[in-house]
C-alpha cells in the first residue's frame, strides 16, 4: 500500500570570478564579457549601489552609466542606479529587499535580466537575497567593494538579512551569475578594513592551503605595509581558496553541520556581538583564530612551533590576537550559540597542521580558558614591547 519513489536532482552552477582593476573604464572588457556569457544582448540591467561606497566614490554611478553607454549593444540600464544604505543597516530589516523587489517590478526585470550589486558584504547579502527571490531568481552580478567582500563574503553562495534579533537569520543559498572584483574599488577604504580582511586569508590558508600560509609568512612585512600589489594577490588567493573549498568541500549548500571556513568564528561572532560592532569582523576573526590555534595545540593536535607560527603571522601583519572583551566572554554559551546557528551536533574545526584540520564535537572549556590566558599574556608582553 505504501510506494516510494526516490527523486535525485543534480544542479550545476558555473560562474566566473573575475579580478580586475577599473572595471568601468570603457575599454575594460570584463563586465561586457560576463554579460556576453548570456548571449549577445543587449541585456537589461538593474544596478544597486552601497550608500557608503557611493559617498566615498560619488563618481561611480556615472562611470557605470558611461560604461553601459559604451557597450550599448551588450547592455542597457533598465532603470537608474539605486543607492541603498551601506553596512549592517542594509541587513537590519526588509527595506533593501523591498527596494530591490520594486526595482524588478518597475523596471520589468525577469529571470533572464541582471541585477548588478556593488558594495560591501552587507549590501551584497541583502541585495542577493532580494535577487534570489524575485521571480525565484534574477541573475546577480556581484561587485564587492570591501576587502572582506572581495576575498570571502562576495565569492560564496549565500545571502541573508538579520531578523528576529539574529544575525543572518533569513536568506538563501544562491550562487551568483558572476563576481567581478574590481580591486581599485578598495582605494577608498580605510586601511583598517584592508588589514582586517587579511584575517580571512590567514584563516582559509590554515584550514586548507599550506602553500598559501607559507606565501603569507614570506610576504608578512609587505602585507603589514599594505602594499597594493601584495594585498591584491593576498585577496585573490584568499578568494580562490574559498571558492575551492565551496566547490570541493562536498557540501556547498551546507546541508551538514561542518563549516571549516568558520574556523575561529565561534569566538569571532561572540566578540563582534559583545563589542557591538566596534570590532570589524576580520579583527574578531584574528582573535578567534589565535584562540582556536592555541587550543588545537593544547589538545595535542599541533605542536608548539606550528601554533607559534600562526600567532606570529597574525602579529606580523598587524592584527591583534587579543581583545579585552574576550576576558568577559561566557565561552560555553558562545559555543552553544554557534552550534545552534549551524544546527545539529556541535562541529568545530581545529587545526591538525598549517593547512589541515579536523572536526571536534566537544570543547574542554578548562583548556579553552587556558588558551585564552595564554593569548592574553602574550598580548600584554607584545603590547609592552610595542610600547617600549
Amino acid at each position: 500500500m505504501t510506494q516510494t519513489t526516490f527523486q535525485h536532482i543534480t544542479v550545476a552552477f558555473d560562474f566566473p570570478v573575475v579580478f580586475t582593476r577599473r572595471a568601468f573604464d570603457p575599454g575594460n572588457p570584463a563586465l561586457a564579457g560576463i554579460l556576453g556569457r548570456a548571449g549577445a544582448g543587449p541585456h537589461r540591467l538593474g544596478v544597486v549601489v552601497d550608500g557608503g561606497l557611493a559617498a566615498a566614490d560619488p563618481g561611480l554611478p556615472s562611470r557605470l552609466e558611461a560604461y553601459v553607454a559604451a557597450h550599448a549593444d551588450r547592455a542597457v540600464l533598465a532603470a537608474p542606479p539605486v543607492v541603498v544604505a551601506g553596512g549592517e543597516r542594509a541587513k537590519a530589516d526588509f527595506a533593501v529587499l523591498e527596494a530591490v523587489w520594486k526595482l524588478t517590478v518597475e523596471a520589468g526585470l525577469c529571470r533572464q535580466s541582471f541585477i548588478v550589486a556593488i558594495g560591501g558584504g552587507a549590501v551584497l547579502d541583502a541585495v542577493g537575497f532580494a535577487a534570489a527571490t524575485a521571480h525565484r531568481g534574477v541573475r546577480l552580478v556581484r561587485m564587492p567593494s570591501t576587502a572582506l567582500a572581495q576575498n570571502d563574503a562576495g565569492v560564496g553562495v549565500k545571502n541573508s538579512i538579520n531578523a528576529f534579533g539574529r544575525k543572518n537569520y533569513l536568506g538563501t543559498f544562491a550562487p551568483p551569475y558572476a563576481v567581478l572584483n574590481d580591486q581599485a574599488l578598495l582605494e577608498t577604504l580605510p586601511p583598517r578594513e584592508a588589514r582586517a580582511g587579511l584575517a580571512e586569508a590567514v584563516k582559509v590558508a590554515l584550514v586548507r592551503d599550506a602553500a598559501f600560509f607559507s606565501w603569507l609568512k614570506e610576504n608578512a612585512p609587505r602585507l603589514a605595509a599594505l602594499e597594493p600589489e601584495v594585498l591584491d594577490e593576498a585577496n585573490r588567493r584568499c578568494a580562490v581558496a574559498h571558492l575551492q573549498h565551496i566547490a570541493g568541500g562536498g557540501d556547498p549548500f551546507e546541508l551538514g553541520s561542518a563549516r571549516p571556513l568558520d574556523f575561529g568564528h565561534w569566538a569571532a561572532h561572540a566578540l563582534e556581538e559583545a563589542t557591538g560592532g566596534e570590532l570589524r569582523h576580520g579583527e574578531a576573526v584574528a582573535v578567534g583564530v589565535a584562540l582556536d590555534t592555541v587550543y588545537s595545540r593544547m589538545i595535542g593536535l599541533i605542536g608548539p612551533a606550528e601554533a607559534e607560527a600562526v600567532l606570529r603571522l597574525l602579529v606580523d601583519i598587524g592584527l591583534d590576537v587579543w581583545h579585552p572583551a574576550l576576558a568577559a566572554l561566557d565561552m560555553a554559551a558562545s559555543v552553544g550559540a554557534f552550534r545552534e546557528h549551524l544546527g545539529g551536533r556541535l562541529h568545530l574545526s581545529m587545526l591538525t597542521g598549517l593547512g589541515s584540520r579536523i572536526e571536534v564535537h566537544e570543547v574542554d572549556f578548562a583548556r579553552m580558558a587556558a588558551a585564552r590566558d595564554e593569548i592574553r599574556a602574550r598580548a600584554s608582553v607584545s603590547g609592552s614591547r610595542r610600547e617600549g
Copy 2:
C-alpha cells in the same frame, strides 16, 4: 591585469516521495522512516496545517500528535501544530511566512530540524518559502492534501507567494527533505477538485509519457466515476512523471526559458485570472491543453486523430474543454504575460505526438483564433448532446 577563476558547483538533492494511506495511523512507518533518514533522533518538528484542511478534518492535529507520541524515540513536537489560512490567501501576503519564521525562532528549530507542512499547494508554497529562508533552510516535509498538490505542486522544487499584484512573484527553488502523499487526506475534498487534478495528469502524459496517456485512455470511464483506486494510481503516475521531468529534463531550477510542464498553461493562467479564481487551476489547464492541442494540429505538428484523442480523453474524464471566458481573452497579451513570467525569449511547448513536444518561439494568432473557434464549436455540440 585581469584574472578569471571559474567556479563549478554541483549540488545533489535526494528526497523520497512516499505514497501511502493514513500516514498518522501509529503503525504506519512512512513518516518515522522519513525522519530516520536523518539519523535515529528524536528529531524536532514544527508542524503547519492548512486551515481549510483543518476545518474539513478537525481530528488531524490530534492524530498527528498521537503519531508523534507513539514514535517518541524518533520525533518530538517542538511546538503545538500551527494552523494557517488555507488556499490562495496563504500566499496573499507575508502573514504565513511570518508565522512560520516565528515558529522557527520560538521553537528553536535549526537547519537540522523539520517543518512538516500539511495542506494544499498554496499552503505548501508559502510554508515552503518560509522554511527555505529561515536559517537559509530548515528541512521541509511536505504532506500535500489536494489532488493537484499530490500529483504536481507538492512534488516539485519550487515555492512562492504572490506579491506586487503578481502570482508567484517571490519564492525560491528549494527541494524538500521528503514528500509524504497520504492519499486518504483527499477524502474530504469536493469531487470537483479530484476531477480538476486529472488535467495535470493528461498534460504531463502528453508532453512526455505516451504509455501514461494510453493508461489514462483505458481508464477514462473509471476516472470519470472518480473510483478511488484508479484515481490514486493516476495521481501517483502523474506525480512520478513530474518527478522524472524535473530530474531528467536538464533544468531543474529553470535557468533557461523552456518549461514543458507548463504545456497549455499560458491560456490556463489567463483564464484563472479572467474568472477571478472561479475556475480551478486544473479546469483551466484542461481548456488550455485542448486549445494548444488543436493549435499543434493546425500548425502541422500532429495529425487529426491525435488531436481528437486528446479532446476525447478530456471530455471522457469529465473535464470541459471550453470556458466562455476564453472567447473574450486577448490571446496575444496572455502569451506576452506568460513570456514575461518565464523570462527571455518566448518558449511554448506544442505537441508533436501523444507523449512528445517541441518548443515554439512564436504564435500564429490567426491560427490560434481558429483553434479557439474549433473548441468552442465542439463544446456547443457536446453541450447540446449532453443536454439532449
